[in-house]
Subunit: 538 residues, 2 copies
């Protein structure tokens, strides 16, 4: 195992099957987006054939890894969390230089990442996701006897995970996809994002160290560096890979979906891609417009607008109260300074997106902040249009990743419904209303059934940025928010993505998996004859 990437003269490699593997497809260096300066550390890139070593190791590890006890799996995830935490200082320093994200944000993200691993350690140990269902034999049933049937869920197999640029920790090497797949019993081959290779190396080493410490097969986790598209496609085509997790752009996600669907054995792809997270301000919410404007500006500009749930559409009533609200936004936004974006490429793409937006007929700029110091720190900006322009201009539904928002002025509730019906799938939708105001409540009640069909999470009040990682969260939504609206990439339900049910008919107990045995050795909550029987936990 290599040392950590703060030693500037060292070259770092992919971590494959428990060892560093020098890539033969060139190398990259991290770029500090605040200066556009290259780091001194080199990271070698694997070619397609080398990636196969990781998938072979994952396949090899799968047989043993999927059958360890819930306690062993939980101990492994807990150990990984502890080792990442122990490298916390180094992780934060490296991530700051590689992503331009501020220290406090990264500290919060690190805490979220290790808490997420510990949450999945608990999930793995509890075993509710195993979904055990038992129907004992009924030999005397008429007209036919009932066989003994026992069902449990099983890990799909090795999973390829692609991390996001915008969460170098919580949606990266040890992020939610990795944590939930490992908790399910799937080995993970993680494709590092080239925007934060050093951060990835430290976290990858921590996971590998936990694998070794816990005596697990070394193929349980591999970290691979490579040219994004080539290696990504090779991974998804690899017959040993049985599912894919991805967080990134719509074009990147749909390319993986196509590759996965074209395999001789198609596999599921869970891609979280694109969302513009509409906010609906109902008339009476404007009574607290000052506070609302301030909340909006904070949500829009946090992390340079580079959050999957950042508000991209703000529906505001026409008329003087709405005008005043937009004026307050303009005032408050003018006092903001742009912060550094993740990469020069993301910043360039955001600038192009804003230029396209600004030139569209019927769209006008209504608010603008100041550029930040250093490179890649564009000014936050808000534009405005009306519902009919929005509905007739497809480009206005495209996400601009960064702190750009479109205000849509609406005339009445009917226009709002029409706009919602015209939306694509979203991660979130937010309503601001006065809960005491009967008109607002009536409009909300009418909108909700439409919003439910468009979004994975619906908020009343507050802002969609900030995702609480727990048991009830949904971070998902209909296409193109994700490739598969039947799932979430955050929270305990995310584990369901990596499982499939298997039924056992008339197996003697000695041949049954532990999960379904009469004696319930793992103390699982199970369904017996269709009724839950709660585990007697210690």
């Amino acid at each position: 195992m290599s040392t950590a990437p703060t030693d500037q003269d060292t070259t770092y490699h992919s971590l494959v099957d428990g060892a560093a593997l020098a890539g033969t497809a060139g190398s990259i260096r991290a770029v500090n987006p605040a200066t556009n300066g290259e780091g001194e550390t080199e990271f070698t890139l694997l070619d397609d054939d080398q990636v196969t070593k990781a998938t072979e190791a994952a396949e090899q590890a799968f047989a043993a890894y999927r059958t360890i006890t819930p306690q062993q799996r939980s101990a492994f995830l807990t150990a990984a969390a502890a080792k990442i935490e122990a490298s916390g200082e180094q992780i934060i320093t490296t991530a700051m230089a590689e992503t331009g994200l501020p220290q406090q944000r990264l500290q919060g993200e690190l805490a979220r990442t290790v808490n997420q691993l510990r949450l999945f350690a608990k999930v793995a140990e509890t075993g509710d996701h195993l979904g055990v269902r038992i129907e004992p034999a009924l030999p005397d049933r008429k007209p036919l006897p009932r066989p003994d049937l026992r069902q449990r869920k099983l890990a799909l197999g090795p999973v390829a995970v692609f991390g996001a640029s915008n969460f170098p920790l919580a949606f990266s090497v040890a992020g939610g996809d990795t944590a939930s797949a490992l908790a399910a019993g799937c080995p993970v081959v993680f494709k590092a994002h080239n925007a934060h290779p050093g951060t990835s190396q430290i976290v990858g080493q921590a996971i590998c160290a936990a694998v070794a410490e816990q005596g697990l097969p070394s193929g349980v986790f591999s970290l691979v560096y490579g040219h994004g598209k080539e290696v990504g496609q090779a991974l998804v085509r690899d017959p040993r890979i049985k599912a894919v997790g991805f967080t990134g752009s719509r074009s990147g996600g749909t390319a993986l979906m196509e590759t996965a669907a074209a395999r001789s054995e198609p596999i599921p792809v869970y891609a979280e891609m694109s969302s513009i997270n509409p906010i609906f301000v109902l008339p009476s919410a404007l009574e607290k417009s000052e506070e609302l404007a301030s909340g909006f500006v904070t949500s829009l500009t946090g992390s340079a607008g580079q959050l999957c749930t950042a508000p991209g559409l703000l529906f505001v009533p026409e008329g003087p109260a709405g005008d005043a609200f937009v004026e307050q936004i303009s005032q408050q936004l003018s006092e903001t300074t742009g912060s550094t974006m993740l990469t020069p490429g993301i910043c360039a793409s955001r600038k192009r997106g804003e230029e396209t937006l600004a030139e569209l007929p019927g769209v006008a700029q209504v608010a603008r902040g100041a550029e930040g110091s250093g490179e890649n720190a564009p000014a936050a900006a808000v534009y405005s249009t009306d519902v009919s322009t929005f509905l007739s201009t497809a480009a206005l539904s495209e996400e601009i990743f960064g702190s750009v928002c479109l205000v849509i002025r609406y005339a009445n509730a009917a226009e709002l419904t029409e706009a919602v019906t015209g939306l694509e799938g979203q991660l979130t939708a937010t309503l601001h209303l006065d809960e005491e105001n009967a008109d607002d409540v009536a409009v909300a009640r009418n909108l909700l059934p439409h919003l439910e069909l468009k979004a994975g999470r619906i908020l009343v009040g507050g802002w969609p940025t900030g995702v609480d990682v727990g048991d009830a969260i949904v971070h998902g939504g209909p296409f193109p928010a994700t490739s598969d609206g039947r799932s979430t990439s955050v929270g305990t339900l995310a584990i369901d993505r990596w499982l499939r049910p298997v039924a056992y008919q008339n197996l003697p107990e000695a041949l049954q998996p532990q999960e379904v045995r009469e004696s319930n050795p793992w103390h699982l909550t199970r369904r017996i004859n269709g009724e839950y029987q709660l585990a007697s936990r210690k």
Copy 2:
């Protein structure tokens, strides 16, 4: 609504949005496969544009249908079961003429169909599939307060269902896909199989009558006749359709998968397609070879071998005991007479499949029955080969739909493992062993982890034909057994296919859906802070 198709002079039509809709794309008549004679009744076929009327009606109905109470949904499914049962005699007579299946088999299938509807009525009423998870707000949590988060599952939207030829009732108009989708809250547009249009008409009328009786929107269920491929593709392309259920051939299923993946909004396809259901006879099981041979012949020839779970591969040890077993099969099979297959086309395809098989090098016929009287009643046949031929000949893994089985003689346990590793995904895998024999048990224990990765249901003893519809069954499996190994098309878990989760953050109770309200008005079992709280049911 039209009358029933026993009136021979009447022409029948699709049932769309609660009324008969005469198709403009020609018409078909049923063919009696025992005589190849055409029925006198005509069924008009819809063109692509007419099919849109059904999807529009389904979309229209969705808003109201998905929000009715569990009791209302349960009452509707129960009413549909009763109305189908009331037409039982007419259904059986019509189905016998259209499918060549014997009366007793169809009576059993009818009972299964109405029981399945009643099972899903109970599922709908219980509401466990709603998957409610609640995490109440924790305003004092550090470092950040926790919002109130409430999650429930929601129906995906209108579903297109394609019925199978081989189960004119249980996998057809009111089959498992329809029952589970309706129970989930999804309107159904059912594409009738052209092999049993009259049976479809009677069952479709019964469901439409239940829709009307229960005061539900008429678009909740439509039955459409059409040219299979054209209308099928049009349905799956239709933007109002949000998921697809299909039972049929591999080519038919993969064609729908491709169409669904190519939509601007890709949708899930649940296709149950192709399985050869391997049976593994371990050495000591041969001590009861007479009984085993008899069970095998019954499983192979039942319903003319036209069951998704019919045994297509039989692994038998090399050596004298295995030889004797194959001889017993040969003896018993020679006493069987072929029964009528479902359609002339299916019979022709089975004959072609057998011819191809017979000509493959290393494959020899070892057993054959007699042809049946009348048309389309081929003799059952068993061929034999060895493991290395099986593994090196891709054609031997292709399903031949009908009573044709391939015996594979194996030398030892290692060859068996190798053969399993070379299998494609299957609905079932069956082991026959002597549970008292340590060698058999050791071989089984070694095979099971491999079988789990290949099949949705694993049996010890017995035969895979005969699927028990309940809470613990899995009728699914990795591709190509199904398009999506994460699901089952039979049993209560099938409802999960039509749902997606939505989270509600900080909604005032008055705006929350009933499922997640603190007062739990629907008496649901829910997860509160990650722990199940069982419903207090009446």
